[in-house]
C-alpha cells in the first residue's frame, strides 16, 4: 500500500469517525499538500448523501473555497506583526492615559506630600489623600501638614522605610522562633533578646 493509498483509506475512515488523533493530523497534513484528497472528500460526502437518500434534491453549490479564502485573509491580518504592534500600542496608550486620569487630583491643585504627626512620614503618593478605614477602624495618624522641604522629606521617608523593615524583620523572626519552639520535639531557644550586654574582666572578682 502506497502513502497515497494510506491517506485515502484514512480519509474514508475519517468519514466514519474511525480515525485516531494522530491519523487525523496526518490526513489534514496530506489534504494541505494534495488537493485531490479534498475533492475526494467532497465527492464521497455527496455519494453518502445519495446512498442515504438525502442528496437527490440538494442544490449543487460550493462555497468552501470562498469561506476558506475569507478566513485565511482574516487570519493573515490578525497575525500581521504591524497589526499586533498597533494593538499593543493602543492598549499601552489606554493604560497610561487611564492611569494618569486616576492619579489626577479632582480639584486641579497639586497636593504636597503628607507627613505623620507621630514623626514618621508616609509615602508621598502623588494625589493621595488620607482615608478613614471602615467598620470603626482608627484613621491613620496623618495630617495634611506640609513637609518642610523636599530634601528633608526624602530623608525622613528613607528612615521610615528602614525602621519599618527592621520592625518587620524582628516581628517575623520572633514569630518563627515561637513557632519552632512549639513544633520542635526538643525545645530550644533560637532567639534571645538581650537588652544590654556587659562584659566584665575575669580578674575583677
Amino acid at each position: 500500500m502506497t502513502a497515497e493509498d494510506r491517506d485515502r483509506e484514512a480519509l474514508s475512515a475519517l468519514m466514519d469517525g474511525e480515525t485516531q488523533e494522530l491519523e487525523l493530523r496526518r490526513v489534514l497534513d496530506s489534504i494541505s499538500s494534495d488537493p485531490s484528497l479534498r475533492d475526494r472528500w467532497r465527492r464521497q460526502q455527496q455519494v453518502r448523501e445519495l446512498l442515504q437518500g438525502q442528496r437527490r434534491h440538494l442544490p449543487d453549490v460550493d462555497v468552501s473555497t470562498r469561506v476558506r479564502e475569507v478566513l485565511d485573509a482574516k487570519r493573515s491580518v490578525s497575525r500581521n506583526p504591524i497589526w499586533s504592534m498597533a494593538v499593543a500600542a493602543s492598549v499601552t496608550l489606554a493604560v497610561v492615559m487611564g492611569g494618569q486620569q486616576l492619579l489626577m487630583p479632582s480639584s486641579g491643585v497639586t497636593p504636597a506630600p503628607v507627613v505623620s504627626e507621630l514623626g514618621g512620614a508616609v509615602v508621598p503618593v502623588f494625589g493621595a489623600q488620607p482615608v478613614q478605614a471602615s467598620l470603626g477602624a482608627q484613621s491613620l495618624p496623618v495630617s495634611s501638614r506640609q513637609a518642610s522641604g523636599a530634601q528633608s522629606a526624602g530623608q525622613s521617608i528613607a528612615a521610615v522605610y528602614e525602621r519599618l523593615a527592621r520592625d518587620r524583620y524582628h516581628r517575623l523572626n520572633g514569630r518563627h522562633a515561637a513557632s519552632a519552639a512549639q513544633s520542635h520535639p526538643a525545645p530550644y531557644i533560637s532567639y534571645v533578646r538581650v537588652p544590654e550586654l556587659k562584659l566584665e574582666a575575669p580578674d575583677s572578682e
Binding site: 485515502r8 483509506e9 474514508s12 475512515a13 475519517l14 468519514m15 466514519d16 469517525g17 474511525e18 480515525t19 488523533e21 487525523l24 489534514l28 489534504i31 494541505s32 479534498r38 475526494r40 472528500w41 467532497r42 465527492r43 464521497q44 460526502q45 455527496q46 455519494v47 453518502r48 448523501e49 445519495l50 446512498l51 442515504q52 437518500g53 438525502q54 442528496r55 437527490r56 434534491h57 440538494l58 442544490p59 449543487d60 453549490v61 460550493d62 462555497v63 468552501s64 470562498r66 469561506v67 476558506r68 475569507v70 478566513l71 485565511d72 487570519r75
Partner: protein, 196 residues
C-alpha cells in the same frame, strides 16, 4: 464510533484554529446549509452569499459551541438566523419558516425539493443512478460492508462482528468499495460539465 464522532474530531481541531478541519466540515455540510438558506432566500446567488456568511459566522462562534447538541443542529440555527437577518436587512419577508425539527428531520431528504432547479433535480437523479449501479456492481463482501456502514449506520466493530472478520478488514473493504464507486462518479462528473 459514528459520523458524528467525525464532526466532534473536526470541530475540536477547528476550535483550536485548524482551518483545514473546518474546511472539511464546510465541504460536508454546504449542500444541506445551502438547501436551508434557499428556503428563505429564493435568489440562488443571494442564497450562496448567505450560505458563505453562515459558515464564516459559525467559525467565529465556534469557541462557544460546547457540543450539547449535534454540530449540524448548531450550524443549522446559525444559518437560519443568517438568512432571516439577511431578509430583514433587505426589508423582505422569508418564503418559509424552518424549525430546528426540520434540521433534525433533514435526513428525510424532502426539504429542498421545492427550491431546486429542474436541471439540478435531473443531475441529482442521474448521479443517484450511477451510484446505485456502482453499488450493485461491487463484490458481495465490499457491498455488504459499505451497506452496513452507510445504510444501517453500524460502527466498524459491529460490522466486524456481523461479517465475522477483523476490524482492519472492515476498514479496508469500506475503503475499496468507496474507491470503486468514486471512480464511476468521477467518470460521470467528467462527462457532465455542469456538475461539480
Amino acid at each position: 464510533m459514528t459520523a458524528s464522532d467525525t464532526d466532534k474530531q473536526l470541530v475540536q481541531r477547528a476550535q483550536r484554529g485548524d482551518l483545514r478541519a473546518f474546511d472539511l466540515l464546510v465541504l460536508k455540510y454546504q449542500g444541506r446549509i445551502a438547501a436551508l438558506v434557499s428556503r428563505y432566500v429564493s435568489d440562488p446567488g443571494e442564497a450562496e452569499d448567505v450560505t458563505q456568511e453562515a459558515f464564516i459566522k459559525a467559525f467565529r462562534a465556534l469557541e462557544q459551541f460546547r457540543g450539547d447538541s449535534a454540530f449540524y443542529t448548531w450550524l443549522y440555527r446559525i444559518a437560519a438566523n443568517a438568512a432571516k437577518n439577511y431578509l430583514v436587512a433587505k426589508g423582505r419577508r422569508p418564503r418559509a419558516d424552518a424549525t430546528i425539527e426540520d434540521a433534525e428531520g433533514f435526513d428525510d431528504g424532502w426539504l429542498l425539493a421545492e427550491s431546486s432547479s429542474p436541471e439540478a433535480v435531473a443531475m441529482g437523479d442521474e448521479l443517484a443512478g450511477v451510484v446505485e449501479v456502482a453499488l450493485q456492481a461491487l463484490p458481495d463482501e465490499l457491498r455488504s460492508a459499505l451497506t452496513l456502514r452507510e445504510l444501517d449506520g453500524l460502527s466498524y466493530d459491529d460490522i466486524a462482528d456481523v461479517l465475522e472478520c477483523p476490524v482492519g478488514t472492515v476498514r479496508s473493504r469500506i475503503f475499496r468499495a468507496r474507491e470503486a464507486i468514486d471512480a464511476r462518479v468521477r467518470e460521470q462528473m467528467n462527462g457532465e460539465s455542469g456538475f461539480r
